[in-house]
């Protein structure tokens, strides 16, 4: 399963898996976006690049998700997908470059569900096991 939801009383836990770190991040983003709206109602008509940095991989995951939320809010987009173009380690800091795909939010067209306030450090984990990269965190909704 590329991503799953984990039970948490107040909020939503997400766990995503990929054969590469990039893929795990992409699946994690999909898990979050699917909380916000029915992603099948969104057409990929435009894209916006995102960039973020962090001290380690788990924090980079949270930064990437929060960067998507910022872009969503500022550009008023309905976002369907994140493509991670590159994750690099520069002088001990991790950097992510990626692109999000979607279109302008249209409440008549897109089925909205629940707003995600932020991705948090709670329940935050990253591990690489048997060739699989797994990321996990709790979303504040």
């Amino acid at each position: 399963m590329p991503y799953t939801y984990l039970d948490h009383e107040a909020d939503v836990g997400i766990r995503a898996t990929g054969s590469t770190l990039e893929e795990a991040f992409e699946q994690g983003a999909k898990a979050m976006l699917n909380v916000m709206w029915d992603i099948s109602t969104i057409e990929e008509r435009q894209n916006v690049s995102i960039e973020c940095t962090a001290g380690d991989i788990p924090e980079l995951f949270v930064e990437a998700l929060n960067e998507i939320l910022s872009k969503q809010g500022i550009e008023e987009l309905a976002i369907a997908r994140l493509r991670v173009d590159k994750i690099t380690n520069v002088d001990g800091r991790y950097e992510l470059k990626g692109t999000v795909f979607g279109e302008l939010l249209n409440l008549d067209k897109h089925t909205v569900k629940t707003e995600v306030k932020a991705a948090t450090y709670a329940g935050l984990r990253y591990e690489e096991k048997e060739g699989q990269h797994i990321v996990q965190c709790i979303l504040d909704v």
Partner: protein, 492 residues
């Protein structure tokens, strides 16, 4: 940063208050308001590591007890459930010189809170035009993901919102100057520095002033079913059968972005100042450090943003009610407005001495007793009103602060029923449309764009609010004044 739960030893102090004695790295004991059932359920959670292994609430109370500078006790109110870093319902007060400030102690929805308007209408008036009122409110008050407000601000005005809070909204014609007296901190906290708020946060804010948001946020038309304390009810201007309107929302994306921005700043600060934290989300900085001060002055901007937001929504609500019932907008007065995700400098007694403390309340409301100068003059003889939100199918309460609450829990109160079930589980158990139909049958109209959002907020996914309120009332830290029931609920 181990997340390994400790073995928890807990002892009963009274039927409604429990203590986890200071042990190991704990600097103070943990204190939890609850009955046998609350505590058994918290302990069961520890054993099962329920919730996919996320940190149980009781362990979060212990983790906060280990943070530098904490005073008296790490406290959780009766609506305790697992949060991120702090438990929801968590209260942590810190010494200003030795203590820390934490993102988790405030949360991402800075100054999320409840405001209640009292009207000159009775239940019977609204019953006659309920559908019309529900439609009008749903049309006039922007709610849900992606909604935008009707105020458009320029960049200078954004900074003004962050510094002046509700006062800015009043100046723009949203509400009346007398409203400000009935908002915690008069709707404007000091020490707000917009320079410490990122451009991103401001950019996200400028279309969202005056929007309700989604999740557990709501606008609810309620009627007063029962009065418990006539003197306090008189002071608050509430009577049986009267229509009240409750607004539950926060600082929207502004607050979310401030929280997000400072997560990384405080993560670096935790390492820099070598602060022992048990869970990554508990990242914090010494309050007096540059990082701590930057975060504090940014949070204060978020607090003011939320006050402005609720002020604008009040105006839209008044207009909608005026439109439907033809009453004067001034016949819809502000009862009170309290935040429940805050960090504030307050004076409290510690070891017989009055001391300024930094009080974090995550999912807990300030609850000051009679006589405190912070309480509006009209309420000062009875204490601060506490606005406790139930669910869309159950009661909500108005309580007041007590002297015992000042002494035992830094003048704090429960903030709501508290969730008992995850959103995912709730969606598996209920369908939004059926729920709306079922509640309509009980005389409660629900308006929402998101059917799945309604299912997530099913009354059955929450703890029993009556029991939660009975616990804090029984413990003597909050006192029951009135019970209200919903007639119309607009959900995000």
């Amino acid at each position: 940063m181990s997340e390994k739960p400790l073995s928890v030893e807990i002892k009963k102090i009274t039927p409604y208050l429990w203590e986890i004695p200071k042990k190991g790295d704990m600097l103070v004991p943990g204190r939890i308001y609850g009955d046998e059932e609350t505590i058994q359920s918290l302990l069961k959670d520890v054993e099962e590591k329920k919730g996919g292994g996320f940190t149980p609430a009781i362990v979060q109370v212990l983790n906060v007890a280990m943070l530098p500078g904490i005073q008296k006790a790490s406290i959780a109110m009766a609506d305790i459930h697992p949060g991120y870093g702090f438990a929801i319902g968590g209260v942590g007060a810190f010494d200003l010189d030795q203590g820390v400030i934490s993102v988790a102690g405030v949360g991402f929805d800075i100054n999320c809170g409840v405001r209640v308007l009292r009207t000159s209408l009775d239940k019977e008036d609204v019953e006659a035009k309920k559908e019309q009122l529900a439609n009008q409110l749903f049309r006039d008050v922007p709610a849900g993901l992606g909604s935008t407000g009707d105020i458009r601000l320029n960049s200078g005005e954004i900074d003004e919102v962050l510094i002046k809070g509700a006062e800015f909204a009043v100046k723009k014609g949203y509400g009346f100057p007398e409203d400000l007296e009935y908002i915690e901190e008069n709707g404007k906290v000091q020490n707000a520095d917009p320079d410490n708020v990122s451009k991103k946060a401001k950019d996200r804010q400028f279309k969202q002033v005056g929007t309700l948001g989604s999740g557990n946020h709501y606008l609810e038309v309620q009627w007063v079913e029962e009065i418990y304390d006539l003197k306090a009810a008189d002071a608050y201007g509430i009577r049986k059968n009267q229509i009240l309107i409750a607004i539950h929302c926060g600082s929207r994306a502004l607050g979310h972005q401030i929280g997000t921005d400072y997560l990384q700043t405080l993560s670096e600060a935790s390492r820099k100042y070598n602060i022992p934290i048990r869970e990554r989300e508990l990242v914090c900085a010494p309050f007096k450090s540059p990082e701590g001060q930057r975060y504090f002055t940014a949070v204060n901007c978020g607090i003011n943003g939320a006050f402005a937001n609720r002020q604008v929504i009040s105006h839209l609500t008044r207009k909608a009610v005026q439109h439907v019932f033809g009453i004067d907008m001034r016949d819809i007065a502000l009862l009170y407005d309290v935040g429940h995700n805050t960090v504030k400098i307050e004076t409290h007694e510690v070891d017989g001495v009055n001391k300024k403390l930094l009080v974090h309340r995550k999912g807990a409301t300030r609850a000051f007793a009679a006589g405190r100068v912070e309480v509006p003059a009209a309420y000062r003889e009875v204490g601060q009103p506490l606005l406790v939100g139930g669910t869309m199918g159950t009661a909500s309460y108005i309580l007041c602060g007590t002297q015992k609450g000042m002494e035992d829990c830094f003048g704090s109160a429960v903030h709501g029923a508290g969730r008992a079930m995850s959103r995912e589980k709730a969606k598996r158990q209920w369908r939004g449309e059926e729920l709306i139909h079922e509640l309509a049958h009980k005389g409660i109209l629900i308006k929402s764009r998101s059917k799945s959002g309604v299912a997530e907020e099913a009354p059955g996914a929450y703890k029993d609010v009556d029991r939660v309120v009975d616990i804090v009332h029984g413990a003597g830290v909050n006192k029951k004044v009135a019970k209200v029931r919903p007639l119309v609920c607009v959900k995000g």
